[in-house]
């Protein structure tokens, strides 16, 4: 028992010692509180009342989008807002009533404001109206003495001065969605927008810039007194496009005469896209300010696809515009000579099937130039039968068909160049020779986008070099934009004499009285163009229709009519521009698409001589703050 008591005695002694120490340290705490709250209180009181530091995030100014001449296509417009600070107002309702006599304040606005008044801290401004005109601002400014707590505020809003013309290329911005939030507080600022489509999306990170911070001294109710320190962020970088805004507008207006169409113009040497238009279009300004639900549903429901950039996302059977590729494949394979003639009786029989030429009476004996000039189908049935699908497909790929081109606007589709393996994998049926014949006139499985057709034409017109299309003069390197260095495009390895035959044939399509596009020729020899018409079937022509005679175009429902296509280049002597035009359900390529391409190529050359810079290196600055 004694040991037990000894243990207890030790415990009691040490326990009290410990308690003493603990209470002593509590005493130290009390002393510390006395020091802070009594002795030094005055100092801290002053600090508390007047010297509080508040850090605020300063959003960066988003980079602009400019055309090749520096014309702004996407800019930051000052957004004048009227805000009310509840704390300075007293009676918010009465202030709103007074304000409503100067500018309309809707019932919905009023409800939102009153809700924010109840929810937010009283010294925080609440937006009453934004996107005000300068007149509205002025009218309120004159009356501010009667409107306590009403203040002005300037933010930035994205604006697209060219509106519809650039909706598909430049794209638009929108507030970040939940999935876009990365933890970067910048994204959570109410005004912040991120690129949602087009160039705005592809170059978004470089255009965003980096936010700065402002260290503010605020008073007892949190109102800023003065700025103590400021760390400037970096404004976003400007993106300079290769597009010529004037030509783009011209294309858009020319296409707007059709129901649904797309056109693209590019430089054959550099791959710079000068115009890329998809009609119908939409106004991206609606998206920047938040699109009304009704308008959005309307755009989505429109069968002509105003939201789709048909230049890169529309896939069409290229029809006869594809025949040059087949011709080049034939020449390279050595299965035909340019002057070799094939007889066209108006059809060709293969097994039990009869393949028709578009001219029922036939073309007679035609050589390669004549076959392209008059778009003889039988010549190309026979030629593709000799070449075989594999070699046609391989030649197509060299001209950029059937694969993504890796361009800098979103939504690009790859088109389709069928091979034997592809058909077996997808359709589970072996390749038939009839498939080859149909592919030889650009029908059947073959699909291409207008951009791919323009690239194909450019690669023929520039002497067989693999130019890559692009929309911006810069590219992203390590998160920021650097000027693109133009390097000569690598050769496709196609003999010049083969290309010469094809280019001669394309010239005669337009400039020979027998050519399918003769009526769309350019009379001035200096500006003359070459090209190829194409008509792409949307539905099969039945044997019965063929027997009873074709229906007239106006008898066919719009969405069952053929697509009209044209690919062209100009000038013929020294090609500078390649162009592809498609008019959805427009009818025949020669009657509908060729005149559009003529107008566009003429305009491109006229603007050229009017002083548009061609491949002019120019330093690109950043947006002014």
């Amino acid at each position: 028992m004694g040991r037990q008591q000894g243990r207890a005695r030790t415990f009691t002694r040490r326990s009290l010692l410990l308690l003493g120490g603990q209470l002593g340290l509590f005493g130290v705490l009390a002393g510390r509180l006395y020091w802070l709250q009594v002795v030094e209180s005055e100092k801290y009181q002053t600090l508390s009342d007047t010297n509080r530091i508040s850090l605020r995030l300063v959003p960066p100014v988003r980079g602009r989008v400019l055309d090749r001449e520096g014309e702004p296509l996407a800019v930051n417009r000052p957004n004048y807002r009227i805000v009310v600070v509840p704390e300075l107002t007293g009676n918010v309702g009465a202030t709103l009533d007074a304000l409503a006599t100067l500018l309309p304040v809707g019932e919905a606005d009023r409800r939102r404001i009153m809700r924010d008044v109840a929810r937010k801290r009283r010294f925080l401004p609440i937006v009453v109206r934004e996107n005000l005109s300068w007149e509205d601002v002025g009218r309120v400014a004159v009356n501010t003495q009667d409107l306590p707590g009403v203040q002005f505020d300037v933010g930035f809003a994205r604006e697209y001065p060219r509106g519809m013309d650039f909706a598909h290329v430049v794209g638009y911005v929108a507030p970040p969605a939940e999935a876009d939030l990365t933890g970067d507080p910048l994204l959570e600022l109410p005004d912040f927008r991120i690129g949602r489509n087009g160039i705005e999306r592809v170059y978004d990170l470089a255009m965003r810039g980096r936010g700065g911070t402002s260290q503010l001294e605020v008073n007892a109710v949190g109102r800023p007194i003065r700025e103590l320190d400021r760390v400037d962020g970096d404004p976003g970088q400007d993106v300079a496009l290769t597009i010529d805004a004037g030509l783009q507008r011209f294309c858009m207006q020319r296409l707007s005469q059709e129901e649904s169409a797309a056109a693209v113009v590019m430089e054959v040497e550099t791959g710079e896209v000068l115009a890329s238009s998809s009609w119908p279009s939409f106004d991206p300004n609606d998206f920047a300010t938040g699109i009304p639900a009704g308008l959005w549903r309307e755009l989505l429901a429109d069968t002509r696809g105003p939201l789709t950039n048909k230049v890169v996302s529309g896939q069409y059977a290229p029809g006869s515009t594809y025949k040059m590729v087949v011709a080049l494949a034939g020449l390279e394979a050595g299965v035909i000579a340019p002057d070799h003639r094939i007889h066209c009786p108006g059809h060709m029989d293969l097994g039990d099937n009869r393949f028709h030429c578009w001219r029922r009476g036939g073309h007679g004996a035609v050589d390669m130039v004549e076959a392209i000039q008059q778009s003889c189908d039988v010549y190309f049935y026979e030629l593709s039968r000799r070449v075989g699908i594999d070699r046609i497909s391989a030649m197509s790929r060299r001209f950029g068909l059937g694969q993504s081109l890796g361009i800098d606007v979103p939504g690009e589709r790859a088109g389709l160049m069928p091979t034997r393996a592809w058909k077996e994998a997808i359709h589970g049926k072996p390749w038939a020779q009839g498939d080859t014949l149909v592919a030889g006139i650009g029908q059947g499985f073959v699909l291409a986008t207008p951009l791919q057709l323009a690239v194909m034409t450019a690669r023929m017109a520039n002497g067989g070099r693999a130019v890559e299309p692009h929309f911006a003069r810069q590219r992203i390197e390590g998160g920021s934009l650097v000027d693109r260095v133009e390097e000569p495009a690598p050769s496709l390895g196609i003999p010049q004499r083969h290309l010469a035959v094809v280019l001669k044939a394309m010239s005669s399509v337009v400039n020979d009285p027998r050519g399918t596009a003769f009526r769309a020729r350019i009379d001035e020899p200096e500006l003359a163009m070459g090209g190829k018409t194409g008509t792409s079937q949307v539905r099969r022509i039945t044997a019965q229709e063929r027997a009873t005679g074709m229906r007239r175009p106006h008898e066919v429902p719009w969405n069952e009519r053929d697509h009209a296509l044209f690919v062209g280049f100009a000038p013929v002597r020294e090609p500078r521009y390649a162009c592809a035009v498609i008019v959805e359900h427009g009818g025949g390529g020669s009657a509908v698409a060729a005149p559009i391409a003529r107008d566009i190529l003429l305009e491109a050359q006229r603007r050229d001589s009017a002083g548009r810079s061609v491949r002019r290196a120019r330093a690109v600055g950043t947006a002014p703050t």
Binding site: F11, S15, L16, L18, L19, Q22, Q37, Y44, R52, V218
Partner: protein, 385 residues
């Protein structure tokens, strides 16, 4: 199993009703008072709303009180028997947290039971006090004085401390070591041994410094000179001092604190709740809270002193030490006396895990009082010494 056997001991020992009557209701009242201060401050921190903190805290307090009474009325022998299981469970969960732990606040500290997020360190602290109390209960004073007999209890403390430090939760690791030291001290280990350990620790400091994480180093450095980095790590300390100092003697009044509302204070409902309290209620309020804490401390220590079993004495003392360390560290931190270590203020800070484990711990303290005369053998049986 007969429930009576759990709550009652031998037939000659007091029954459940007698036990309930001998619960220290005064201590419970003190705890409730401090908790009410907590509810009020959580209400204030939410800008005058029971959501999101005060309401839930009140509910947890209610549930915690029930658990507290259960912990108080179960016979002390059961706790003696449960010491190693609780400790083992705590250790197991610490390892589990290391493996599956959810990342919370940059540290792996939580186990999610679905309905309840749980910090294994809380269980570990209780488990450590239980095993050390049990261990020394079985040792005579002579045995305690033999150095080699101390290897086991030191190991019991150091292993979980290392695991916790790895999370990394330096504050809790230090608390576990402090608990071990305090219980060794109370059990009668010679003072020169503590001196030797202190000397050793001082010698090892440079090594420890090099192993600290950058943010931990930063906390210490900025503590030494907060003005060095007024917008970075020192920001909280400076803002906390401004809030406290501007409160003055009588404070700015309930819900009138400006510093806290302007969001100058981080985690104002948890670690910095004392700052808010002292801004709104001033020095007077601060002293009242300190006095309440001191009263609880004295009350708990007295319970330890009247217990007849060494197990009971050490159990109550260990819990009181942990309680004191929490309270002191938190208040010393926000008043700028020690670096920011992120420990909550007992019964006041928002946090269910901490509140419930505190209430259960105090249930054990009350248990020691209720069973102050109980005999516990060395092996936990009912026999005498």
């Amino acid at each position: 199993m007969d429930l009576r056997a759990i709550f009652a001991g031998r037939p000659d020992e007091p029954g459940l009703v007698d036990k309930l009557a001998s619960v220290n209701w005064g201590l419970v009242l003190l705890i409730a008072l401090v908790s009410c201060i907590g509810f009020a401050m959580q209400y204030s921190a939410a800008g005058g709303s029971m959501q999101p903190w005060a309401g839930r805290q009140v509910a947890r307090f209610g549930a915690g009180l029930v658990l507290m009474l259960v912990a108080a009325l179960v016979h002390l022998r059961w706790w003696h028997a449960l010491a190693y299981p609780v400790y083992a469970l705590g250790l197991l969960l610490l390892v589990a947290v290391e493996v599956f732990g959810r990342i919370g606040m940059g540290a792996q500290r939580w186990i999610d039971l679905g309905f309840f997020q749980f910090q294994p360190t809380e269980l570990m602290k209780l488990g450590l006090v239980l095993v050390l109390a049990r261990h020394f209960h079985a040792m005579s004073q002579e045995q305690v004085r033999k150095p080699h007999r101390l290897a086991w209890p030191v190991l019991l403390g150091v292993v979980p401390a290392l695991l916790v430090a790895k999370q990394p939760d330096l504050g809790s690791a230090l608390l576990l070591l402090t608990l071990t030291g305090a219980l060794l001290f109370l059990a009668g280990v010679r003072l020169w041994k503590f001196a030797a350990v202190v000397a050793l620790v001082l010698a090892a400091l440079p090594l420890a410094w090099s192993r600290l994480r950058d943010y931990q180093k930063q906390r210490v450095l900025v503590f030494l000179d907060p003005e060095k980095d007024p917008l970075g790590s020192g920001y909280h300390i400076i803002q906390s001092k401004i809030a406290l100092g501007s409160g003055g003697i009588w404070g700015k009044g309930f819900m009138q604190g400006t510093q806290s509302y302007l969001q100058f204070l981080p985690e104002k409902q948890t670690d910095f709740i004392f700052t808010m309290y002292a801004e709104e209620f001033g020095l007077a309020g601060g002293i009242v809270l300190l006095a309440l804490y001191a009263a609880i401390l004295v009350y708990g220590t007295m319970i330890a002193l009247v217990a007849r079993s060494q197990f009971g004495r050490l159990l109550a003392s260990g819990i009181m030490v942990a309680f004191w360390v929490y309270a002191f560290i938190n208040m010393a931190m926000v008043t700028g006396l020690i670096p920011v270590v992120g420990e909550p203020l007992p019964f006041v800070s928002y946090g269910g895990s901490a509140l419930v484990s505190l209430l259960v711990s105090f249930g054990l303290v009350i248990n020691v009082y209720v069973h102050r005369n109980a005999q516990i053998g060395r092996a936990g049986d009912e026999g005498g010494p």
